[in-house]
Amino acid sequence: MKSRKRWLSTLAVFLSFALVAAACGDDSETTTTLDGGTDTTATPSAGAPDDFQIGIILVGPEFDRGYSQAHFEGAQYAIEQLGLPEENLISLDFVNPGDNPGLTPEGVAADMISQGADLVIFNSDDMRDGALAAAEQNPDIPMIWVSGDSAWADGKAYEAELTNLGNVWGQMIFGKMIAGCAAALTTETGELAYLGPLTNDETRRLVNSAYLGAQYCWENFRGESADSLDFTVTYIGFWFEIPGVTLDATQVVNDFIDGGSDVVLSGIDTTQALVRTGQRADAGESLWAVPYDFVDACQEAPGICLGVPYFNWGPAYLDIAQSVIDGTYTADWNWIAPDWSDINAVDSSVVGYGKGDGLSTENAADLDTFIAGLGDGSIQLYRGPLNWQDGSQFLGDGEVATDFQIWYSEQCLEGVVGACSINVFG
């Protein structure tokens, strides 16, 4: 009997705890909210229905201070500019098979649509299969596959029947040229390193652009010979490090520095290159880094940051959302140039470059000259003669590359050291 009483009292304690805890729980409605979003006015702007919702599917963490955060904040900007409350933005991060093996992009899109999304954005090249499947399954819902080429009639992978799936991408080739220039202006050893993600046309395009910017500034501002600049790239295998699957990004940065590089440019979605380089610099080494993607990325190690080429997705997402609201949305391929009148204009430039504290005043002035030259067309870096890494010709003497040639960069350029196609671990 004594034992039974003890059993009952134990059970009572547990159930009481459960009931009390349940009673103390949050009774709020099950609605989508935004972490860290600024206050928005609750009154929609004219023409924006108050139930208009944007769904954005992020490949990485929402607050990675890199690629995914840039997209998330761009979508936030669009919602705010439309005068809609933050609840009208539906987002899900970590949508990749490594972090969420039970999730698929098309499944997440279906969830968002059932929750009321009027526009769905897939933020990664990696979501190609899911974006195509979702567009096919939901032909009446406008969608955007960021960085893709499915809507490019002249592209290699045109999907003419998917009239609801558009593509958008910023001309980051210019951001990377500026990054390469800043690195070349600053380096003391003449050895630059580039931490690459995975190898594809996009990432080779960006490596090549950084290399061309570096070479130009090395020769024209530093007055050095072209062949005295080393430019090495190592790819880790994915957009961000996945332990046990990709190379260890921090270790790769260590290898760069131990090998003599004093400026590390990042091409991955997260800030490991900047963070690790900053740690080594704190230990007394003369080092600098250039992160990527997110406007405030330099804050991770401001003293050694030469600046950041970043995406400012807000204006592009606002235009797309407005076209959906207006009923004028068409599934186009948009490769958007920076606003050369002010590449850091929040309301108009999709690509920008935020200078870092590590960039000297003198070098900053040279960088401004370089940017002005890119903007007015007096500096054209994709002009021949240029060869591919294997020695074959990319552009003949005086030939200027077309969008198609730059977009589908099948190799790295001659002069770039490191495997840029397959066998990245080799």
């Binding site: 059993w7 729980g25 039970g102 995975l198 295998g237 994915f238 066998n423």
Partner: protein, 356 residues
């Protein structure tokens, strides 16, 4: 219902409920909403509502590999073996299936059959390797299995990044999509494959029969209960241990096939989805009972698919689903253990009272 049965039933449930509620309150939410959303995100709310067939399909297709791996683990657990190498066996099954899917041209029914057989063989051989290391090399199956898991993961990454890389792309995001003829047949607009479900149910039924009605199963249990005594009784223990690993590996390998050709439609680095490790928890919770694998693994599949709703609808990190899963497993095991302990105590007290 006797007080013993009541203890065995109510106490674990109370512990699980209290733990789940406590965790969700700590996460700052009403406990009911997340649970409802996980159900809604996996099979719809009310359950199996119309228009949720794609979600149900996803959930079922996550359930299949967990169930298959769990069925296999029941065999090795009964043989007294901790087959931590189950992840590698799933992966090698997926790799073998991917090889057939990519390299073999045949009519769909034949090609699907070949991928399943290849997956079974791939997993079987990888399981056999763990067994050989255990029986011939004296390598503890936990360490051997864990080592082979890493080998399998690295091998997958190598294949994806190099020989099976997409044209012009070297990304750990995966290979090209397999040809249609190699994909498991599924219901229109969903991943739901009746063939995969049938295989999983047959596997569970087969394991149930193995330990309920066959001499082989009985001897396997004897080996698991006491290896040395079984050997002295004339049972070829090494052969039985190898057999257990082969059965488990084959079932896990078929699970890998389902992952590759029925869910992702390609080979990806994380092709196992961690479902092998999850299956270990399933089997522990099911107490090696094949029947209970069905609902318990389905519950885990619901969390795997439905937990994204926590982020989408409640702004809770979807990783909370995994935390919830772990807390439920640990609390359930604690509750079961506690109930067993109390029952034993009560029986001892009763026995003492009778004798006195």
């Amino acid at each position: 219902m006797s007080s013993y049965r009541l203890t065995n039933l109510v106490l674990p449930i109370s512990v699980v409920v209290a733990s789940a509620v406590g965790l969700l309150v700590l996460a700052g939410t009403n406990p009911w909403d997340p649970l409802q959303l996980i159900v809604e995100g996996s099979i719809g709310w009310p359950p199996f509502e119309a228009g949720k067939s794609a979600k149900v399909g996803d959930t079922v297709m996550v359930w299949v590999p967990i169930a298959l791996a769990s069925a296999g683990l029941i065999v090795t657990f009964n043989a007294g073996m901790w087959n931590i190498g189950i992840e590698g066996q799933i992966i090698m099954g997926a790799i073998a299936a991917a090889f057939v899917a990519r390299e073999v041209s045949a009519p769909r029914p034949l090609l699907v059959l070949l991928t399943i057989l290849a997956g079974a063989v791939g997993g079987l051989l990888w399981g056999l390797l763990v067994g050989v290391l255990r029986t011939a090399g004296g390598v503890n199956e936990i360490f051997g299995g864990l080592g082979l898991d890493f080998v399998a993961i690295s091998f997958t990454t190598y294949l994806i990044i190099d020989p099976w890389a997409r044209t012009g792309v070297a990304s750990t995001s995966g290979t090209d999509i397999f040809p249609d003829a190699a994909l498991l047949p599924s219901s229109s607009g969903t991943r739901l494959s009746l063939l995969a479900i049938a295989i999983a149910l047959l596997a569970i039924g087969g394991v149930w029969i193995l330990f309920r009605g066959t001499l082989y199963g009985l001897k396997l249990k004897a080996v698991g209960a006491n290896l040395r005594s079984s050997f002295l009784m004339g049972i070829p223990t090494n052969r039985y241990l190898l057999g257990a690993f082969m059965i488990c590996g084959a079932l896990a390998g078929i699970g890998g096939t389902v992952q590759a050709t029925g869910f992702h439609f390609k080979l990806i680095p994380a092709i196992s989805g961690g479902y092998g490790f999850l299956a270990i928890l399933v089997v522990l919770l099911a107490r090696y009972q094949a029947f209970w694998v069905i609902p318990i693994s389905f519950f885990f599949a619901m969390i795997a698919v439905g937990s994204s709703q926590l982020d989408l609808r409640l702004d809770l990190n979807s990783a909370l689903g995994g935390v919830l899963q772990g807390v439920l497993v640990l609390s359930a095991m604690f509750g079961l253990g506690w109930a067993a302990y109390r029952t034993k105590r009560q029986l001892q007290e009763a026995s003492g009272g009778d004798s006195g």
